[in-house]
Every structure is written in C-alpha cells, then in structure tokens.
C-alpha cells in the first residue's frame, strides 16, 4: 500500500488492519494494558507585577486489560475427505483483539447444536487433535505444527489453528461438524500455557495500580452456538464432508477370430488371422457415475496391432462386441464421439478412455490384432 493510500485511509477515519499490513502504525486494540496514563498541568501568572509559575499534582491511572478475540473458520466450503482417510484437516483463525499479549487455550467439541451449520452431522472424526500453525504457511505440516495452544499472541496478532482427525470407513458416513473453542489466557511466559483469564468483579474497590480484566467480547456464533457474550471465549465451526465414494467397477475381456484368410466360416487362429479383443467395463453401483475410466491392454506377443481398429461404444449382442461404436484415433486425439483411444507403439498398449460411466451401465471397447 502506498503512503498516499495509507494517509487517505487514516484521514477517512476507518482503518482496516488487513490492508495496512502491519499492526504498528495504528492499533485497533488500543493502549497496551498496564500503561500508566499521567496528567500534569502548569501555569504562569503575575502577583503584584512579579511573574511566577506553578505546577499541579500528577494524576495517574493504569490502563486495564480489555479482553476480546475473533475466531473464524477460514474455509469457504467443507473439507472434502475420503472414507478411511487419516489426518483430515479443518482450518481456523484466531485474532487477538485484546490490548495486550495473550495465550489462547484451545479445545474442540464434536457435538454441534442443530442449525448452527447446514447439513446433518452423522459421524465423528477419530483421534481428534488441535495444532497451531508454527510456520505461518496456512497449511498443516505434520511434525512441524505441534503446539496445542497459542503462545504469546500480540495485540492484533493472528494465529492459524488446525483440527486434525481420521475419517471412518463406514460407507454411511457423510458429514462431520466440529467446533473450535478459543479461551483468552494470561500471556507473559513464552513456551508456558497461561491460565484462562477471569474478569475482575465490577464491585472491586479502587484498583488504581493493578490491571483489571474486563471481558469485552461479543457472542460471535449467534443464538444456537455455544458462545455467550463477554465470557473471554470465541467459537467457530468447521465441516468435513465425505466426497468420494468407491464404485463397483469391473472389466471383462473376450477374444474372437474375425477372419483367417482361408476359411469362409469358423475362422481359425492361423498366422495372418485377424483377432478381435472386446473389453467390457461395467459400473455396477447404481446412481454413482464413475469418471475418467481408463481401459488399457497390452497386445499379445506374436501379434501386430491393426491400425485404426480401436472402437468404443455400447454393449453389443449376438457375437458383436459393441453397437453404436465410435472409431478412435491411434494418436489419442479426440475423434467423433465422447470417447478417446490411442495405441502406443513402443510399449504395445491400447488405451480407451470413457469420460463418464453412469451407474448401472456398461461400455465396450474393441481393437484388432493380426497373428504374426
């Protein structure tokens, strides 16, 4: 941000910390707790024509700790996970809006009240752990991000927190909701977890030289969530969603001698005969399409691939491999139709790609070789 831009922001009176970049120029948390404010007045006057000066006493008070924090989920959509996945991560951010350096205690809850988030929670993540991002890269680095509480976060500072856990293998699991609770705690001892702050009771008498604790945090998760106003805590919620299910995919292969150059019917597998191979891919899981289905086959030894013989289409009947077939280009480029095919001459591999195989359907691919 240019100096001119920063000056404009200051003049308009609204300061957004994020765009200025560093917190030193103008703090949103205010004077640091423990700062002593002093005031002394002085005067000049004359008495009977003679000049004199005077000074007042020094009035002072100590600035108290105004406790506030912001806890948010940093994701715009649920974390997509696979069944059986371990180390699945949801990411949060804790901002210290207190006018002093504080520790933050972290805990998680998997029992989330209905209505806080959309969707229905039907599983818990196992082995739940909470870690603080130690290298500020916003990504959970196992073995590197190992701290379980936020240590010495300065006023206006931000820390990234991860909830990490394992996804069960049961196919019934589809969504898990988790809540992160951050509690403001005492700072001052690096590496040591501070005690949770307690608000100084309002009826305590003159505390002029001590730092009182005043909770000024709003309830940031609404009526349904766990948080309440001015309790020195903040909550945010994250979601895991099982996005990938496996489908029952199978392939069968048949071979038919098409012609042998000699017989008129019932051709035999003679040298020079043409053999057709038929690969049938079946997605037996109803309602769940499989995408990017790749069929590959290495042509047998002692045969030569018949160029341009790859075809992909619907299942055939009465001995035919397929119906409504689309001929494919040997070089893998897109031919007419939705499928692609290719033949790799160096490793003698035929490949047929079916972009989407709908649930409960089958697609066949065929190619021909000549017996050497």
């Amino acid at each position: 941000m240019s100096a001119l831009g920063a000056r404009r922001l200051l003049l308009t009176g609204t300061v957004t910390l994020a765009s200025i970049g560093t917190a030193q120029a103008q703090s949103t948390t205010g004077t640091t707790a423990g700062t002593t404010i002093v005031n002394t007045a002085n005067a000049t006057y004359t008495v009977n024509g003679t000049a004199a000066t005077a000074q007042s006493n020094t009035a002072s008070f100590v600035v108290d700790r105004k406790v506030n924090l912001t806890v948010i989920s940093t994701q715009t959509s649920p974390t997509q996970v696979n069944l059986g996945q371990s180390g699945a991560v949801t990411t949060f951010q804790v901002t210290n809006n207190t006018n002093g350096t504080q520790d933050f205690l972290l805990s998680a809850n998997q029992l989330i009240p209905n209505g806080v988030l959309t969707g229905t929670d039907n599983f818990d993540i196992a082995n739940l752990k909470i870690y603080v991002d130690s290298n500020n890269n916003g990504v959970y680095d196992p073995g590197v991000d190992t701290a379980s509480f936020i240590d010495e976060l300065p006023a206006d500072g931000r820390a990234t927190v991860f909830i990490v856990g394992d996804i069960p293998t049961s196919p019934l699991a589809s969504m898990a909701q988790v809540g992160l609770d951050a509690t403001v705690a005492a700072g001052g001892a690096a590496g040591t977890q501070g005690a949770a702050l307690i608000a100084t009771p309002l009826n305590t008498l003159n505390q002029d030289t001590e730092i009182d604790v005043v909770f000024a945090d709003d309830d940031n998760d609404g009526v349904l969530g766990y948080d309440t106003v001015r309790n020195g805590q903040g909550w945010a919620y994250g979601v895991y969603e099982v996005g990938t299910h496996s489908v029952n995919l199978s392939v069968t292969k048949t071979a038919t001698v098409i012609s042998d150059g000699v017989s008129t019917i019932n051709p035999k597998a003679l040298p020079g005969a043409i053999v057709q191979y038929c690969l049938t891919a079946t997605n037996a899981t109803a309602l769940t399409p499989a995408s990017g289905v790749n069929l590959t086959d290495v042509i047998p030894a002692n045969t030569t691939y018949v160029p341009g013989s790859i075809t992909v289409g619907g299942i055939g009947t009465g001995g035919a491999c397929l119906v409504n077939g689309f001929a494919q280009n040997d070089d893998g480029s897109q031919a007419l139709g939705p499928y692609t095919g290719s033949f790799n001459g160096s490793n003698k591999t035929v490949t047929a790609t079916i972009p989407t195989l709908l649930g409960g359907t089958s697609v066949a691919a065929s190619f021909r070789v000549k017996i050497n």
Partner: protein, 156 residues
C-alpha cells in the same frame, strides 16, 4: 515526592516563585464516563474516578485552581499538555473553552491550526492532532477565589 518536586521547580524558577508555596494551587484529576443503569432501566452517564479504564473510554480531565495568597493573581494562563495515549475530544460542558495547539507553541481554534503532512502539504487540524490545551483567564483571580476547568478526551 513533594520535596523532589520542590527542588526541581526551584532549579528553573526564580526565588520569588517557589511554586509549591506560591499563592496558586492547582489540583488535577482524571474522571471516566461510566454508564449507570438506574432501577427503572434507564441509563445515565456518571463521572467516576479513573480506576478501571480500558481503551475507548471517555475521560474528562479536570483542573481546579485557587488563589491561596492575599494578593490578586493576574495574567493567569493554565496549560495542560494532552497525556500520552489520550486524544483530545472537546471542551467540557460548564468549562471555559480552551485554546488548542498542535505543537505546544501556537495556540488557537481547530479551524485556525494547520498540520503539515509528511508529503509537505498542509491540512486543517482535527481534535486528534491537539497536543496542548490552554486557558487564559481574562480577569484576575482575587484572594481566596478559584475555579475549575475541564476538557474531554478519549483513551486510545
């Protein structure tokens, strides 16, 4: 503390103006605006001594002066530098309006003061630019007489 204070003032003032023993006594105090909820649910604003103060609290700085001598005090000018971490906000109700300064040297109203920006241009001063406030009393203060002056501020 009083003894040290006397010695410091004597070092800069002439013998005739040993300030602590002089005819002008000044007492300053800082008060915080506190919102009090009455029994009927209405909220009122009270001024309480500044014991529990957090950033954003509104402060009233009060200066009481009295002529404890026998001769009238003339040309009285009372000055109050705005404390660090405090921002000037305006004169307090019931008090003489102070003159303001952004550098401690030139005093006037906000409209008369100009601030030089880092780029070298000037702009009109705002309340947050004020560094000193000053009251010049137009008439002498008779023996035994006194008064109270105040201004409003906010804790950064």
């Amino acid at each position: 503390m009083t003894l040290r204070f006397l010695a410091a003032v004597a070092a800069v003032a002439t013998a005739a103006s040993a300030a602590a023993a002089g005819p002008l006594t000044m007492t300053t105090r800082m008060m915080i605006e506190k919102r009090v909820t009455a029994a009927d649910g209405s909220t009122a604003t009270q001024l309480v001594p500044a014991n529990k103060a957090v950033p954003g609290d509104r402060i009233t700085v009060v200066l009481a002066y009295r002529n404890t001598g026998t001769a009238p005090i003339g040309s009285l000018v009372l000055a109050n530098p705005v404390p660090r971490n405090v921002l000037y906000r305006g004169s307090a109700a019931g008090s003489q309006t102070p003159e303001l300064s952004i550098d401690g040297k030139t005093f006037g109203t906000l409209a008369e003061l100009r601030v030089t920006t880092p780029q070298g241009a000037t702009r009109a001063a705002t309340a947050s630019d004020v560094t000193h406030v000053r009251w010049r009393l137009s008439s002498p203060v008779a023996a035994g007489q006194g008064g109270e002056l105040a201004f409003q501020a906010v804790l950064k």
